[in-house]
């Protein structure tokens, strides 16, 4: 027997956020098994919130760490910690939305999604409390995202990608209302996601073929030294980036986004829009900046075209939408394009501006979906634009919050959206990518129209018979709304601290 086995050195403190998230998720599974049903939701929600906050605390304590650990599979550096922090902050808000049960009796999730829609058993469960397994699933997903950002080799990254996606596919299928489109969304997301994972994995294989390693730093070193045919490397880069762009919902890999955003339960849509975007861009930044930086001149034009396409497609199609969730889906596509502009300004400024943009966008979109979950009629949420006409007269406070969020998304000054766009565009100008900025400004102007149209409809139309009612937000949704609105305004009025933090953090460890 071999007794000379050396245990790997693991810096447990550096990976403590991950360990906390995974630990709480596993505990959540045990809670499902052993805690009596009536108490489960409270225990789960409390545990998940405490877990995420503890992980956030661990991230804050780790500030300034620069270390590669766990057998070289995790890098804890500035960008990883910054984006993990953002991710966990969004996670708290999203968990508040997921835990809400006041707005919809029983919560936004259904207990047994497998029952035939409309059957007697289905009607019986309509008012029954929903599944509490969403909490561990959300925690699994959050843990996967946190690892995705920090992974320092492609294999770990792939596993993290699966871990973050799988619970998302599942949670998409759990909507209480409009169950058929929810299930359709889940299946679409799953099939296309599996396809994208295949692309990513094939890219990993080709990268291994080129560099003889899946480690990002080793690939970086091999770009100069490897004797292999560089076509392998280009193909690897293309396939890996395709897999990642799918998660960021960049055109032409965006087709899943509108259907999935519309079909998924609104808290999950919020979770996806804010957290998945951070995770996917974190990984994209790491792959492009750490492993393929020496090829920047080769991938810049291609991803540049994708960025322009993404912005224009998102903006133009957003104009034609009449459903608010779809509108926000196209807006998220356009915003992915804006972040890509930041990514393309390769360098410290580019990374920091992209990271700041993600923070500003995440809070705004969480706030937007929080409001959407409140506007309802007997059938559940009403997301058609015409039903929102005149809402401002009926419930000015929440409509006001929504207005602020919309203005932020449109990039009006004194909101986080403006600062973020400004940061991204100036970073691109700094490295001389003027064409990206022109496309960005044009699409910002285009996409401002649908946002402002919603605002105008809410405030300037008379409320009519068909105007939906605004449910009073419960404590959880109220808190989420408050956090979203405050962050949006705060990032617009005093962006300095966060900008500095992003700038300090934006150095990748190789």
């Amino acid at each position: 027997m071999t007794t000379d086995f050396q245990l790997p050195a693991i810096d447990y403190q550096a990976i403590s956020p991950l360990l906390i998230l995974f630990g709480v998720a596993c505990l959540g599974v045990l809670v499902e098994a052993f805690v009596p049903r009536p108490a489960r939701r409270r225990v789960q929600l409390g545990m998940a919130l405490v877990g995420v906050l503890a992980a956030l605390g661990a991230v804050v304590l780790l500030a300034g760490t620069n270390v590669v650990t766990a057998g070289g599979s995790v890098t804890v550096d500035g960008p990883a910690l910054f984006m993990q922090g953002a991710l966990l902050a969004f996670g708290v808000v999203a968990l508040l939305l997921i835990g809400e049960r006041r707005v919809e009796p029983g919560g936004a999730f259904v207990a047994q999604p497998a029952i035939t829609v409309g059957s007697e058993a289905d009607q019986r469960q309509a008012s029954a409390p929903g599944a509490t397994e969403v909490f561990p699933l959300a925690m699994f997903s959050l843990g996967g995202m946190a690892l995705f950002i920090a992974a320092s080799d492609l294999l770990t990254m792939f596993i993290a990608l699966e871990l973050l996606s799988l619970p998302l596919y599942l949670m998409c299928a759990l909507a209480r209302r409009h169950r058929l489109i929810s299930q359709e969304a889940a299946v679409k997301y799953f099939l296309l996601g599996a396809y994208a994972s295949g692309f990513f994995l094939f890219g990993v294989v080709l990268a291994y073929g080129y560099a003889g390693s899946v480690d990002l730093a080793a690939i970086h070193a091999a770009v100069d030294t490897s004797q292999m045919n560089p076509a392998l490397l280009y193909a690897a880069l293309a396939l890996i980036v395709m897999g990642l762009l799918f998660k960021t919902a960049a055109a032409p890999f965006h087709v899943w986004a509108p259907d999935v955003y519309q079909g998924a339960p609104t808290p999950i849509t919020a979770f996806m829009a804010a957290c998945t975007k951070v995770a996917a861009f974190g990984a994209l930044l790491r792959v492009t900046y750490v492993a393929f930086e020496r090829l920047a001149w080769d991938w810049l034009p291609v991803i540049g075209v994708i960025a322009v396409l993404t912005m224009l497609v998102g903006a133009v199609l957003a104009v034609t939408q009449t459903d608010l969730k779809r509108l926000l889906a196209y807006s998220s596509i356009a915003n992915a394009g804006f972040v890509l502009v930041g990514v393309l300004a390769v360098g410290r400024t580019g990374a920091s501006s992209a990271m700041f943009y993600l923070v500003a966008y995440g809070f705004a979109v969480l706030g937007a979906f929080a409001v959407i979950s409140l506007v309802r009629d007997r059938e559940g949420e009403t997301t058609h634009l015409s039903r929102w006409a005149g809402l401002g007269r009926r419930s000015p406070l929440v409509a006001g919050v929504f207005t602020v969020v919309m203005l932020a998304l449109a990039g009006i000054p004194l909101t986080g959206g403006f600062t973020a766009k400004f940061a991204v565009f100036s970073a691109a100008l700094e490295v001389g990518e003027g064409w990206l900025v022109i496309a960005g400004v044009v699409s910002s102007v285009i996409i401002a129209f649908p946002y402002l149209r919603v605002v105008v409809m809410m405030w300037l139309s008379e409320p009519s018979e068909s105007t939906a009612t605004m449910v009073a937000p419960g404590l959880l949704t109220g808190t989420a709304l408050g956090i979203g609105a405050l962050a949006v305004v705060g990032l617009g009025v005093v962006p300095g601290p966060v900008l500095d933090l992003a700038h300090d953090a934006a150095l990748f460890l190789r």
Binding site: A25, P113, G144, L147, E162, L166
Partner: protein, 176 residues
């Protein structure tokens, strides 16, 4: 050409052919069986490359469990014997994309490797042996490995919640 080359070429041809059959056949269960052949050929390639552990685990997990579950699902639902007429037949776009991607990647590989040869590891302590694999797994890949188990746990939980039919029925019965 050595024996290993011939074996690898033959097994590769079998795997590719079986893979093609999987996507082109209209017999649902036979598609599963072709998948078995494809995965089995892959396991054979691992064997030729002296990765015995990987080869047999491939047989045990993929051939012995995954495809059986697949067949199980097919049989639970319809268990059709003979061709299913309502399947999506591979149309021109599918053929074009599939063939294009396949041939493109094949050309890439052929061009990248040409006549590069790699000598097979010899002896009981090659990179495919159980001891070396175990050491790697618990040394440099320990975190991904553990995360993988978390992923499987998440998948398990998910499988249960999307498929369970009567949550709380027994509890309600007990209350009554």
């Amino acid at each position: 050409m050595t024996v290993a080359d011939v074996l690898l070429l033959g097994l590769g041809a079998v795997a590719v052919g079986a893979g093609l059959c999987v996507v082109t056949t209209a017999h649902l269960v036979r598609a599963g069986l072709y998948l078995v052949v494809c995965l089995g050929a892959l396991a054979g390639m691992f064997l030729v490359l002296t990765a015995e552990l990987v080869a047999w685990v491939q047989v045990l997990i993929y051939v012995g469990a995954v495809v059986v579950l697949l067949l199980f699902a097919v049989m639970l639902t319809r268990a059709p014997i003979g061709a299913s007429g309502d399947l999506d037949r591979p149309g021109w776009p599918g053929l074009l994309v599939g063939a294009g991607a396949g041939l493109g990647l094949a050309a890439l590989f052929v061009d990248a490797y040409r006549w590069t040869s790699v000598s097979l590891p010899d002896g009981p302590d090659g990179p495919g042996s159980a001891g070396v694999l175990g050491g790697e797994l618990f040394r440099s890949w320990v975190l991904p490995f553990e995360v993988l188990s978390v992923l499987l746990l998440a998948a398990l939980v998910g499988a249960i919640i999307v498929s369970r039919p009567d949550v709380g029925a027994s509890d309600r019965g007990a209350e009554r």
